[in-house]
């Protein structure tokens, strides 16, 4: 197979990869911040907050990312009457989606801590908040971090969908190269190889960190 088009178009792939990484990084970052709030709302004793968070999470998980992307991309500028950069809208859509999944990861992580831990802490006279800070959350984090790494990987892959609204990510750039070179197949293989390299590298890194966490922690 002939990859000689790369001479001319390699910069396209670099630019696209940068956008994909930016999108995923900020998507996960905002997703985690929002997700923490959603998880706290869902675990709170206030039934109104609980309902709001649950409704949001169910709505996001119950609709396709593509639909959410269109809604944000076309709806948000109209709703607020502002102009946004395409990339910003992409990040917003991805974050709003990711937040729901992150919230569930955090909630599950906290609830997976044995309830005897909370009872033991409370029986010593610790207020709920103290028990959460020193006993529950440190143990929950060990369950949360690996799942959060997976979410990051999923997000990088799913971010390819933003190409349909014309955000210049890796997938979009690969399509452009296909159009310019009249070659339907090879440019996609290059994009696939780049995606794979990023994700494979990241998952190895996460596995390494996870392994380190497990050996450093003599607690299980």
């Amino acid at each position: 197979m002939d990859f000689s088009f790369m001479h001319k178009y390699y910069q396209f792939y670099i630019d696209g990869t940068v956008i994909t990484l930016l999108l995923s990084f900020f998507g996960v970052l905002c997703g985690v911040v929002l997700g923490v709030f959603l998880a706290l709302m869902k675990l709170s004793r206030n039934s109104m907050l609980k309902l709001l968070a649950s409704a949001y999470i169910e709505l996001v998980r119950g609709t396709p990312l593509l639909v959410q992307l269109y809604i944000v991309y076309y709806g948000l500028p109209k709703l607020l009457g502002w102009d946004f950069a395409d990339l910003t809208l992409g990040i917003v859509a991805v974050s709003l989606n990711s937040a729901a999944y992150v919230a569930e990861i955090i909630r599950a992580g906290i609830q997976s801590v044995d309830k005897g831990q909370m009872e033991a802490a409370r029986s010593l006279g610790m207020p709920h908040r103290t028990a959460m800070t020193y006993i529950i959350i440190p143990q929950a984090i060990k369950n949360i971090l690996p799942a959060l790494g997976n979410e990051f990987i999923v997000l990088i892959k799913e971010s390819a969908i933003v190409s349909v609204v014309g955000i210049h990510d890796l997938m979009y750039k690969a399509d452009t190269v296909r159009g310019n070179t009249y070659r339907p197949f090879a440019p996609l293989l290059v994009a696939a190889a780049i995606y794979f390299t990023i994700i494979f590298g990241l998952s190895k890194l996460l596995a390494y960190v996870e392994g380190r966490m497990r050996t450093g922690d003599s607690s299980i």
């Binding site: 044995d114 033991a120 409370r122 029986s123 010593l124 006279g125 610790m126 020193y134 143990q139 607690s219």
Partner: protein
């Protein structure tokens, strides 16, 4: 020291505790026995409000802890609790397990708290385990650490919820030994247990519970040798 009046607890339609009345004085060793599901653990957990009673009043050292304006955290510091499943904090070393509450709640200096902890570890015979994590300990050792952790808050009363039920038989003795020592030091204790020999030996009062009620109570010698109520007779015939 603690007075329980008309205590009721319902889980949905299940009526687990029915009109419990009891007064426990300072220095008493109250042992609660009874079949599974009789409500003895629930009753014990109501004493420090780990279970919220549906109805009734509990007064501890003059404070009505069932009053909704009462801050239970204050009284819990005075009532140590030991669980069947130990519930040590797995992400902390033994000494951190013991010192966390005194440091955070009593604002004790770390050095002072460590000193208290090492003394307690010596008492339970585990001073060499101060810096290991709970997963490196046997069940009996874990439970002795759990007792030390509760004692670190210098409680006036200790609650034991089947402290030896999750242990291998050869480890029961070491935990009971630590508890006996507490008895000789005059600690007020409420113990839910299936160890009838231990109940007979250390109890100053035995309470037999069945179906959410206190069926019979009395001195261990009398209750074990001459139970009055047919349910007690039936139960003791099966376990002794």
């Amino acid at each position: 020291m603690i007075q329980v009046s008309n205590l009721n607890k319902e889980f949905g339609k299940l009526h687990v505790l029915k009109d419990i009345n009891i007064k426990i004085n300072k220095g008493e060793i109250v042992v609660i026995i009874g079949p599974s599901g009789s409500g003895k653990s629930t009753f014990l957990r109501c004493l420090n409000l780990l279970e919220e009673p549906t109805d009734g009043e509990i007064v501890f050292e003059g404070a009505s802890i069932t009053n909704k304006y009462n801050d239970i955290n204050k009284q819990r510091q005075k009532m140590g609790m030991v669980f069947q499943q130990f519930n040590l904090f797995p992400h902390m070393t033994v000494i951190e397990n013991i010192t966390l509450a005194p440091i955070k709640l009593k604002k004790m200096e770390r050095a002072a708290a460590n000193k208290v902890a090492l003394n307690l570890l010596k008492r339970v015979g585990l001073e060499d385990k101060a810096f290991v994590y709970p997963n490196q300990l046997s069940g009996g050792q874990k439970q002795r650490i759990a007792i030390a952790r509760a004692l670190a808050m210098a409680p006036n009363m200790m609650l034991f919820d089947e402290p030896t039920s999750a242990l291998d038989p050869e480890m029961v003795g070491e935990v009971l030994g630590v508890m006996k020592e507490l008895v000789t030091e005059g600690m007020t204790m409420v113990i839910v247990t299936h160890e009838m020999g231990f109940a007979k030996e250390v109890g100053s009062r035995v309470i037999f519970m069945d179906d959410g009620r206190i069926v019979e109570e009395g001195y261990p010698k009398e209750l074990f040798s001459q139970p009055k109520h047919p349910r007690t007779k039936d139960f003791l015939a099966k376990v002794l």
